[in-house]
């Protein structure tokens, strides 16, 4: 009980300007949070709960059989074609995530410690990130295509006699497009982590006899780790569930989980199976992200 809360509302009949009542103060933040909570309840919590529910139903022709069953999950885990696509999705997105982080790390370090106009560099990074994702991925189709930019340029320069076929419609094309599409998600978190490093820590390490390599391994790298882990999760999860990229540049051998889900909700019209695929995919992604995050933490702990 603070003084403010025990001030009487009126003294001897004269109205005193009182601070908001204890109840009002306690309630106010929750009132402010109400619209957001309602929005998230209806657009996030309820749909996801319903999706889990749907994954326990069965499609019978046009009708949905609402008796609960795990049959959809049995199908998801026993159909070999699904296993292939799940493994491929995780592999593509894992490689894309690692590549994006490796390429972005030196760049983020450059902005944090060497660049003069930090604002300008960060703006340059964010501009492509905010421009149409669809068109950015589509640009890769134009670049890598049979009659595309690379092939036509090489043919015009007489470096090749006929267009290269291996550029487009395969998993590497998906990886390249994803590394490009998600670059900002790698650079920004790593930059934020690097920027927070106190220079006196590096000086202290130098004073205590660490060379540049050991300083890097024992100070800069471990301290950038929070950013690396954020980047990992922020890229790994959405890329593994990406629909546009495999559809545009993946070809039949580059299809991913999202394509399977879309087919069940579209052409095949088996929503319960599609829901089970989606729930299984989310569970796999969460588990994979958790394992990789723990792995990175462990590896760095060993270095230290």
């Amino acid at each position: 009980m603070t003084d403010a809360e025990t001030v009487p509302a009126s003294i001897g009949g004269t109205r005193v300007r009182r601070p908001p009542s204890r109840q009002a103060r306690w309630l106010a933040p929750y009132l402010l949070l109400t619209p957001a909570t309602v929005l998230l309840a209806f657009t996030l919590a309820a749909p996801l709960a319903l999706l889990v529910g749907f994954s326990l139903f069965t499609q019978r022709g046009l009708a949905i059989d609402t008796n609960l069953t795990l049959n959809q999950y049995v199908t998801v885990f026993t159909r070999p074609a699904y296993a292939v696509v799940f493994v491929r999705s995780l592999a593509i997105s894992f490689i894309a995530t690692i590549l994006a982080i490796l390429l972005a790390w030196p760049f983020a370090w450059f902005i944090a410690f060497r660049a003069r106009a930090k604002f300008l560099w960060l703006l340059l990074v964010t501009i492509p990130f905010w421009t149409s994702y669809l068109l950015r991925i589509f640009a890769w189709k134009v670049i890598l295509g049979y009659n595309g930019v690379i092939n036509s340029a090489l043919t015009t320069l007489h470096l090749i006699s006929e267009p290269l076929r291996f550029l487009l419609y395969n998993p590497p094309a998906v990886v390249i497009a994803l590394v490009h599409g998600y670059a900002a998600f790698a650079i920004l978190p790593i930059y934020v982590a690097l920027e927070k490093i106190d220079p006196s820590l590096l000086e202290a390490a130098a004073d205590l006899g660490d060379g540049p390599l050991r300083r890097f391994l024992r100070v800069t790298l471990p301290l950038s780790l929070t950013g690396v882990i954020s980047a990992f999760v922020l890229i790994f999860v959405p890329t593994a569930g990406d629909y546009v990229t495999p559809s545009l540049v993946g070809g039949p051998n580059g299809l991913m989980i999202a394509n399977l889900i879309q087919v069940e909700f579209g052409r095949v019209d088996n929503w319960p199976l599609g829901a089970a695929l989606a729930v299984a995919a989310m569970a796999f992604l969460a588990a994979a992200a958790a394992i990789c995050t723990a792995g990175v933490r462990f590896a760095v702990a060993q270095i230290r």
Binding site: L33, L39, T131, N147, A183, Y191, V192, M282
Partner: protein
């Protein structure tokens, strides 16, 4: 010696990296002025015919109008909702961590799952798909971005200014109007622009929720199947690039106004 080597290698790498980021994107405007139906080298001459063809396309204009309506509603709605929530979260409220984590969830769930789960709910409720359903989906999609920008803004907010205003006799409304609002305004502008872009750019959620009210990305997706439409799409894409570059520039300037050197609040950190 090594220090000098890295000091030269690193800027070179940074420039290469920028070339990697921008190269593919800059191809769109380049080929949108190319006088050929094929997107290939060598360039065959300058033309603006694809822009004319694109502007004359009534399907495109319908989709553009829909996208503008949706993005306006979604950006206004999500910014207002996020402003109220950010105010509560910044001043400390029980369950803050839980709420912040939950509202960031759309960043960690693949768009396709967000889209189909909303579709399942709307179908169960037998609600018709329309602009409204896309707007509702986009409010959720935009919320983490609006919250990120506005929380960063409000965290630097000096509440003693509001107290001073009240002590000097201003009422709550005038305090809000003359003190709080001007201080928060740059964050609000940044949030409006960023969420506008998020909504305008979204393909997958609109793909599932728009019904026959095609949005621009959904329209472009349909056009991509027809090779002869390619140059029109490039012209449209170049215009979108130009407009969003201007918007993002303004948004970043507004967001940084008074927040020296603070980077984009990286989602999830």
């Amino acid at each position: 010696m090594t220090a000098r080597k890295t000091s030269r290698a690193l800027p070179a790498y940074a420039l290469l990296y920028l070339a990697f980021l921008y190269g593919p994107i800059l191809l769109l405007p380049l080929f949108s002025f190319n006088n050929s139906i094929f997107v290939a080298f060598p360039l065959s001459g300058f033309t603006t015919q694809w822009y004319a063809a694109m502007a004359a396309d009534s399907g495109m204009r319908f989709a553009l109008a829909n996208s503008l309506k949706i993005a306006t509603a979604a950006s206004l709605g999500s910014t207002i909702i996020a402003l109220l929530a950010a105010r509560a979260l910044v001043r400390g409220v029980r369950g803050r961590a839980f709420f912040a984590g939950f509202s960031n969830l759309p960043l960690f769930i693949p768009d396709i799952v967000l889209g189909i789960s909303l579709l399942v709910l709307l179908t169960r409720l037998t609600l018709p798909l329309s602009l409204v359903t896309v707007i509702v989906g986009h409010l959720m999609l935009c919320l983490p971005f609006a919250l990120g920008v506005l929380i960063a803004r409000l965290e630097g907010f000096d509440y003693s200014l509001e107290e001073a205003s009240r002590d000097l006799g201003e009422n709550a409304w005038m305090t809000f109007w003359r003190v709080t609002f001007p201080l928060v305004l740059p964050g609000v502008i940044a949030s409006l622009l960023l969420t506008f872009l998020v909504s305008f750019d979204d393909f997958l959620i609109a793909f599932f929720l728009c019904g026959t009210d095609t949005t621009l990305p959904v329209y472009i997706w349909g056009e991509l199947r027809f090779p002869y439409k390619l140059p029109d799409v490039l012209a449209l894409g170049s215009l979108i690039l130009a407009c969003s570059t201007v918007l993002i520039g303004i948004a970043e300037l507004a967001r940084r106004h008074g927040l020296q050197g603070r980077p984009l609040p990286a989602p999830g950190t």
